[in-house]
């Protein structure tokens, strides 16, 4: 059960107070202070070295018999493993994206060419078809006009 609720840092210098470093190593800080000290030790290698030395002393004296890794080292591992996890996720995602992009480009290039060819064919065939339609229309008009003339006579 964590006991110390006061800030583990000096109010003026913001340095970690030795008593609270000890309390941190013993697991006697409230969770918020424990997290703050962990962050502090991850950012301050010199302080972390001091804490490591003290942690080893405590372990050697049997006061931290159950502990195998210093708390901030554990925190570092979590950060590294989560970064590695994110990397593990990012790499397949990038590969998948590249694969999909490749497939899309391939598809566009194949079907796109085909579409262009079809359009070209349509354009080439278009005037003939339009001419045929015009011819049929003109024939139809002429036929209708002839019928009307015959009726009027």
């Amino acid at each position: 059960m964590p006991t110390l609720t006061a800030s583990p840092f000096h109010p003026l210098t913001n340095a970690l107070l030795p008593v609270y470093r000890e309390a941190y190593l013993m697991g006697d800080l409230v969770p918020e202070s424990t997290e703050a000290v962990t962050r502090y030790l991850c950012q301050q290698p010199a302080e972390a070295a001091l804490a490591t030395a003290r942690w080893q002393e405590l372990r050697a004296s049997g006061e931290l018999a159950g502990a195998t890794t210093a708390p901030w080292e554990e925190a570092k591992k979590i950060v590294v493993s989560s970064s590695a996890g994110a990397r593990r996720f990012r790499m397949p995602a990038l590969r998948m994206f590249a694969l999909l992009g490749g497939l899309t480009l391939t598809g566009l290039s194949v079907y796109g060419l085909d579409l262009v060819q079809q359009q070209e064919q349509a354009d080439a065939a278009g005037p003939v078809a339009r001419r045929t339609e015009h011819t049929m229309e003109a024939a139809s008009i002429a036929k209708t006009e002839a019928a009307l003339l015959a009726q009027s006579r």
Binding site: T3, S7, V19
Partner: protein
């Protein structure tokens, strides 16, 4: 010896040392931060800074208990913790914002005198 006699905390520690030369440790502590403003120890195994931090929690928890019990017209004057070979006395000052921590061996120090010394010292701080 972690104090200067230029301030009231240091003067209190010095006065207590004068009155109880066989004491184990003494400190004037800020309750909120748990930091010792002045301290002295005659025992290598008793760090008054550590005692200050942990006993600040004792005081805070007792103050919480008083609030929970709705003891509105009561205030903590002192707290006595009796160990096998030591007595730890906590005398609250300045309305509980600070306290004097004193550790003595009851074989060497009369407990009634120790409490009286703390009471007098507290009057210097109030």
């Amino acid at each position: 010896m972690a104090y200067s006699q230029d301030n009231s905390s240091g003067m209190v520690v010095q006065q207590i040392l004068n009155d109880l030369p066989t004491l184990l440790a003494v400190a004037v502590v800020d309750t909120t931060s748990g930091m010792a403003m002045a301290s002295h120890s005659n025992s290598a195994s008793l760090n008054p800074e550590t005692a200050a931090a942990y006993n600040a929690e004792v005081v805070k928890q007792k103050q919480k208990a008083m609030t929970a019990l709705k003891l509105k017209n009561e205030s903590i004057e002192d707290i006595l913790i009796t160990l096998t070979t030591q007595s730890h006395l906590i005398r609250l000052i300045d309305g509980g914002k600070k306290f004097i921590y004193l550790a003595v061996n009851p074989r060497d120090t009369n407990l009634a005198i120790a409490r009286d010394v703390l009471r007098s010292a507290a009057e210097l701080m109030d």
